[in-house]
């Protein structure tokens, strides 16, 4: 791969960004910092304000309040064409009347670069995305994946200080998406790009990002590394949205310094680790399906329940079970698939989970004060767009 000219991505800071559309708030007091060379993803359900945030950074939507800084300098009052930001649009937005070469040369021509330099830079950018020999084609003569690469080359050829992407892989089929994820990550590392990417696809976010900002109702619900978000979601919304989660409402029965016992609304008692939120009040519980295990005779866990299998969904590498426990709750359990074995529909089983598998959040009242919607039924948190 030809070397870039040594420019790396710039640090970006969003400071109290807000956007009102009439009386509705699309983005609300959003502040975050993206380091130079960092890949940050805005992840959230449709309508959570991701695209609006991106458009404010790019200069196409004027913030009602707040400021955008790139390399420490405010750019909020600059026009889009003065911002030096590359964008990959969801449907690529390649110019259909221009050949691939001229598409990629476009930003250089706008910058009045000499022809020789343009030819050299375009060749560099097309090599970068492994499309070296397709310069003379028109966009409609390319496959979806190739169009995606051209869009990337076009956004990178002028070495912008920041790369924005709105659902960049959303229009590709799964196979291609995985390949492109790899390429994207490779490029971002090699060129030391600062990237802000928008997606509602949690898998994409987990694979690509250094950090993820989970957005809901125009706010950042939690900002952290993929691992932090998955292992220690700070709100029920994050637990639901990132990965799958069994959501239960419960009440604290008793507590000591390290543990508490809670009872769900249906009457299932369980031990939870860590000091539960203070007070006698309501709490919300989230348990990852893969943290619940099937137990053999004599095996024990902090929490144990008898259950009947209502549904079995074979996923290939894993199997997803829907269990009903005597108190009436349904639990989702995910287990590695074993050849020819595993419990079947209708089987009576015993399941268990440890106290620290249960994530505990301040109760329903406190959660709605945060602007959270009631928790969706387990399993609905994914793939909303």
């Amino acid at each position: 791969m030809a070397a870039a000219s040594g420019r790396r991505g710039a640090p970006v800071r969003l400071d109290g960004l807000r956007k009102d559309f009439g009386s509705s708030v699309a983005v609300d007091n959003l502040s975050l910092e993206v380091g130079a060379g960092e890949f940050l993803t805005l992840l959230g359900p449709s309508g959570s304000g991701k695209s609006t945030t991106l458009l404010m950074i790019a200069g196409f939507v004027a913030p009602t309040r707040g400021e955008v800084f790139v390399s420490g300098k405010p750019i909020t009052r600059k026009a889009p064409h003065e911002r030096d930001i590359g964008i990959v649009f969801q449907h690529y937005a390649l110019f259909p009347h221009l050949k691939v070469f001229d598409n990629v040369a476009f930003p250089l021509k706008m910058r009045q670069q000499p022809a020789a330099r343009i030819a050299e830079r375009v060749a560099w950018a097309l090599d970068l995305v492994r499309l070296g020999d397709l310069g003379s084609r028109y966009p409609h003569q390319l496959s979806g994946g190739q169009q995606q690469r051209v869009a990337l080359a076009r956004a990178l050829v002028f070495e912008p200080s920041l790369l924005l992407m709105d659902e960049p892989l959303g229009a590709l089929d799964r196979r291609l998406r995985e390949t492109m994820q790899g390429e994207l990550k490779r490029l971002q590392r090699a060129l030391d790009l600062t990237v802000i990417c928008v997606t509602h696809d949690q898998e994409e976010a987990l694979t690509l990002s250094d950090r993820i900002a989970v957005m809901n109702h125009g706010r950042v619900e939690q900002l952290g590394t993929p691992e932090e978000l998955y292992e220690r979601p700070q709100t029920p919304f994050v637990a639901e949205f990132l990965g799958e989660s069994n959501a239960l409402a419960a009440r604290v029965l008793r507590r000591d310094e390290s543990r508490a016992v809670v009872r769900t609304t249906q009457g299932l008692d369980m031990v939870v680790a860590g000091a539960a939120p203070a007070g006698e009040g309501e709490v919300r519980l989230a348990i990852r399906p893969e943290r619940i295990e099937f137990l053999q005779e004599g095996e024990a866990r902090d929490n144990v329940a008898d259950a009947k299998i209502d549904e079995v969904v074979y996923l290939g590498d894993a199997v997803r079970y829907l269990l009903r426990i005597p108190s009436g709750e349904t639990l989702i359990v995910k287990a590695r698939s074993v050849a020819g074995g595993g419990p079947r529909m209708g089987d009576a089983v015993r399941v268990g989970w440890s106290a620290d598998a249960v994530l505990v959040y301040a109760g329903a009242g406190a959660a709605s004060a945060n602007g959270l919607p009631p928790p969706p039924k387990a399993g609905e948190g994914r793939g909303r767009g």
Partner: protein
Amino acid sequence: MLATARRMPLTIAPEHRRRLLLLLPAVGFLALAFALPLALIAIRSVTDPEPGLGHYVTIGTVNVYLRVLAATFGLALTVTLATVVLGYPVAYALARSRGTWRFLLVALVLLPFWTSLLVRTYAWMVILGRYGIVNQVLMALGITEEPLKLLHTSLATHVGMIHILLPFLILPLWSVMTRLDPALTMAARSLGASPLRAFLRVFVPLTLPGVMAGAMLVFILALGFYVTPALLGGPADLTLSMLISQQVSELLAWGFASALAVTLLVATLAVLALAGRFLGLGRIWEGLD
């Protein structure tokens, strides 16, 4: 859009052939009301008053007829160019507007469009007349002492035809503009193009199919215009359709009038074929749908 300009296959799968029967009423109607009279006109042009190509020889050799033919095409061309120049900004404003503004603009384009052509032509006679609003304003401002002769001039013909034909340019163009992905101009802006350059380098080239579609429509309609040039134009502004009408109603020269009509039709088809060849007819139809 350019990217999707493809030819539709003309072969029809056997299982669909029976559905073609559904076309029968329409085809029958067209055959009776359109193809048959057209054929009769064509036949008459070579049989009335005597068999032979005499009429066509006359049209091709007598200076006056060639001049009228050229003038008709010239008029249609100027009117078309003027509608493009005037209509493009209107279509652009329509495509960009929202809410009340859009409603107002659409009303301004469509209301005249729905008004009878004759009514609008008479309106122009009133406006451009000796004591019409234009002359009164000019005299009130002291620009002229005597009323100017505006009506029954080539200018009046142009103004009237441009006004009547503008919606035929604006509407297809508007449709092309609204279908253009806004991300395309945003992409251009993000890549360093000023608003003007994004417009000239991306928006205009990508809406040209709409311009072509509208211009083609206006041009063909203008070629056959009769009422407006007849009522607004002067004696010197003779168009082919006026000539045809003259031949029929004043001279009862049905055969020669038929030959003129066939000439106009063939010339129009020739223009369409040329446009199709050089601009791609597919694109023009796409601009219209």
